[in-house]
């Protein structure tokens, strides 16, 4: 744990300290720093934002602006299992919409939300490069191809 003297005593992990150090002097390094934080924690907390703001000399308002601009960055944690339904054109044409709807119904959440128990979150993404297996979905990093609404329950049950 390390203190950032700029703010009112919040703390950040050593990992964040390292990330900040790595990108401090890189032109446009804030994007890369946010990527690494997002990968490490699944979201970018306010205390991390404050710390990066100070260390990389980027105003808080800019950091917030960047995080909200790019869909890959998240202000809140994702579920333990992040379900990404491909809504790329190839998958859409093969019925991805029905698959997405089934996930919404089964999980009782909308795209961009997390289930109450924090277990699942749901996203719609663009082409994941598995068009040959369209419609395709990804749960964490596992790809499931040739999806149909009736396979949704079975897949979710694997993660229960």
């Amino acid at each position: 744990m390390s203190h950032c003297d700029g703010c009112t005593g919040c703390t950040v992990d050593d990992k964040v300290v390292k990330i900040a150090k790595k990108f401090k002097d890189v032109d446009g390094g804030i994007m890369s720093a946010l990527h690494e934080v997002q990968d490490e924690y699944g979201y970018i907390s306010e205390s991390v934002q404050k710390y990066l703001s100070k260390e990389l000399s980027v105003p808080m308002s800019d950091i917030y602006g960047i995080i909200t601009f790019y869909s890959r960055f998240s202000l809140v944690p994702k579920g333990k299992y992040n379900v990404q339904v491909c809504m790329g054109t190839a998958c859409y044409v093969k019925g991805a919409e029905d698959v997405l709807k089934e996930f919404k119904d089964e999980l009782k959440i909308d795209v961009g939300q997390v289930t109450e128990d924090g277990k699942f979150s749901l996203e719609s993404v663009r082409c994941i490069g598995a068009c040959g297996l369209a419609p395709a979905i990804v749960v964490n990093s596992e790809v499931y191809g040739k999806m149909s609404p009736d396979k949704v329950k079975e897949i979710l049950s694997k993660y229960n």
Binding site: D27, G28, G29, I30, M31, S32, L34, H35, V58, D62, G65, I66, F69, Y70, S71, R72, F73, M87, G88, T89, A90, C91, Y92, V93, K94, D98, V125, R126, C127, I128, G129, A130, C131, G132, L133, A134, A136, S141, V143, G145, P149
Partner: protein, 607 residues
């Protein structure tokens, strides 16, 4: 350790010898990896050891025939195995040892086994230039790239050509940008070279935004060095020592292969200081995109690399004058770069002999949707859509009829049957209301509603508009509202007019290409499928049956055998009736049109 020209030659000839021995090449593109080719690779290695075989087992890039993945090719015989499973590993190794083939994994056409992969119908009309090394070399081994004349173009340039000679070669080849707009690549190099500045940058656009396309990803996954080498050549030509590749973070395999490739190139001194002992320095850094489509636009991409929100900047100034970090910047697409080394090695005449008058060379397309051979195809410019859809793509599955081909993604349009014989090039596609785009090619059959597909693309642009221009931010939303209304059966006769008026405003008043082209999917479907719009609005009918509010699921009482299977499967208990007591009926107020019953009825009584 810096390699000299002679050392590179030695690597080249030694590795070429290796290519003469047996190699099992397994596709490690995203498609095949999704169907577990990584597990097969492990198993093959394990079995190879167990059976005491010294056959080389390696990853390679996408073969293009992703629909039949996971794919393995045995070199040097070029035997093609499709839909391979982990359990097949032992037989594959044994066959290599005994010099035989595993016939059950080989494709057959006209009752004959296909002996070499290029003999498949799928490849018949293709010509692989940008994808030349995909499926032949291991993308994680720089020696294999060097063996296929890799870094020879860079050597030729650095040791024998002036900057002007390089630019002229690219100019004379007729190469045009593969990222969508088709700007002549040589001209762009010329302009950037002419800008005076102490620092210039070379950028590679690997943001691949078209949702349903994976050409650039496949090149980066299968042949990353070809892009690095071309960027270094561009750096020499325009006077730059620093390159950036802006690649989507959602492409983990491509990012990993690029990292490996950059590391290996640096180790050999093919990137870094004093490349090949000359006074030319060039380095490349990776920057990750973060899921914003607009960042594929050149000025937005530069803002994003600078660590800002990816909003487009007004042009002029153009990037060739004032681009990344306010320095002159050259930006090209991945596939554009993938052609450059071939042009340097084979000459501009060779390249310009391929293609049409205005569009030279080949184009890679990601063929998807309602088509038998989903995959990646590379064809000479001038190939017709019909050849791609039927000869290469194998036609439409399920005996359905072709309705439209969509090119250009959210900026493009739908091409109907009557234009299937259009030879593909930049001009002809624009003329018929679509565009080349980056290479997404989605085929749609008769069950697809064109109003609905226009709505799909508008949803995408509404989501992705950066919001800077009111015309784009608000205009696309209005268009989407109208389209939604039409698909829900609430369309009004004036709506078509309104759509066209809005489209014009958005096209003319938007700052960047996203807004300027956003209306295209609507305009092109209005052009070729106006009847469908009218049918939705006036008759409240969706002939394709996709707009759920406009379709009815009905049981044909004459065909119903009163078995009750449909009733058991209906999620909303909308089906009324009792077994063997008269035909069943659907309560339209309860039916959600999921069509589960249609699929379940053994007597095809429901439609």
């Amino acid at each position: 350790m810096q390699k000299t020209s002679k050392e590179l030659r030695d690597i080249r000839s030694n590795t070429k010898l290796k290519f003469k021995s047996s190699r099992i090449m397994i596709c490690s593109g995203t498609g095949c990896t999704s169907s577990k080719s990584d597990k097969i690779l492990e198993e093959l290695k394990k079995k190879g050891k167990e059976l005491g075989s010294d056959v080389i087992i390696e990853k390679t890039g996408c073969f293009g025939f992703c629909a039949k993945g996971p794919i393995i090719v045995i070199e040097p015989e070029q035997t093609f195995y499709e839909m391979v499973k982990v359990e097949d590993s032992e037989d594959i190794i044994k066959a290599v040892i005994s010099g035989t083939k595993v016939e059950r994994l080989m494709p057959s056409e006209n009752d004959k086994f296909i002996q070499k992969w290029h003999e498949l119908n799928f490849y018949n009309k293709q010509k692989r230039v940008a994808l030349k090394n995909c499926g032949y070399i291991n993308p994680e081994d720089i020696d294999e790239y060097i063996a296929v004349d890799g870094y020879l173009a860079l050597e030729k340039v650095l040791t024998g050509l002036t900057k002007n000679e390089v630019i002229n070669t690219v100019l004379e080849s007729g190469l045009r940008g593969r990222g969508g707009a088709g700007f002549p690549t040589g001209k762009k190099w010329q302009f950037t070279a002419a800008s005076k500045s102490d620092v210039k940058y070379v950028c590679c656009n690997a943001d691949e935004g078209d949702p349903g396309a994976f050409m650039d990803r496949s090149i980066l996954e299968g042949d990353p060095h070809s892009v690095l080498e071309a960027m270094a050549i561009a750096g020499y030509a325009i006077g730059s020592n620093q390159g950036y590749i802006y690649v989507r973070a959602e492409y983990p395999i491509a990012v990993e292969r690029l990292k490996i490739a950059i590391k290996q190139a640096k180790k050999y001194g093919l990137l870094g200081k004093n490349i090949l002992g000359t006074d030319f320095d060039f380095d490349i850094e990776l920057r990750l995109g973060a899921g914003a489509f607009v960042c594929g636009e050149e000025t937005a991409l530069m803002n994003s690399i600078e660590g800002k929100r990816g909003e487009p900047r007004p042009r002029p100034p153009f990037p060739a004058v004032k681009g990344l970090f306010a320095k002159p910047t050259l930006l090209n697409n991945v596939e554009t770069y993938a052609n450059v080394c071939q042009i340097i090695l084979n000459g501009s005449e060779w390249f310009s002999s391929i293609g049409t008058n205005t569009s030279k060379g080949t184009k890679v397309f990601a063929l998807g949707g309602n088509i038998n051979n989903v995959g990646l195809v590379e064809v000479p410019m001038g190939t017709t859509l019909r050849e791609i859809v039927y000869d290469i793509g194998g036609g439409i599955p399920g005996g359905k009829k072709f309705k439209a081909a969509q090119t250009g993604g959210p900026s493009g349009g739908c091409i109907p049957n009557q234009h299937l014989d259009t030879p593909i090039d930049y001009e002809s596609l624009t003329q018929i209301g679509s565009m080349m785009g980056s290479g997404g090619l989605i085929v749609m059959d008769e069950t697809k509603c064109m109003v609905n597909i226009a709505k799909f693309f508008l949803e995408f642009t509404v989501d992705e508009s950066c919001g800077k221009c009111p015309s784009c931010r608000i205009g696309t939303k209005r268009m989407l509202e109208i389209l939604t209304r039409i698909t829900e059966g609430k369309g009004k006769v004036e709506d078509i007019d309104r759509l066209e008026k809005l489209a014009n405003v958005i096209k003319n008043a938007s700052l960047c290409g996203l807004g300027q082209t956003a209306p295209n999917p609507v305009l092109s479907t209005l052009k070729y499928f106006r009847d469908e719009y009218v049918d939705h609005i006036e008759n409240k009918n969706c002939a394709a049956g996709e707009c759920k509010a406009l379709t009815k699921v009905i049981i044909n009482p004459e065909k119903c055998k009163e078995c009750g299977i449909c009733q058991k499967n209906c999620p909303t208990n909308a089906i009324m009736g009792e077994v063997r007591k008269g035909p069943f009926e659907i309560d339209q107020t309860k039916c959600i049109k999921c069509k589960v019953c249609v699929a379940k009825c053994p007597f095809k009584a429901i439609s």
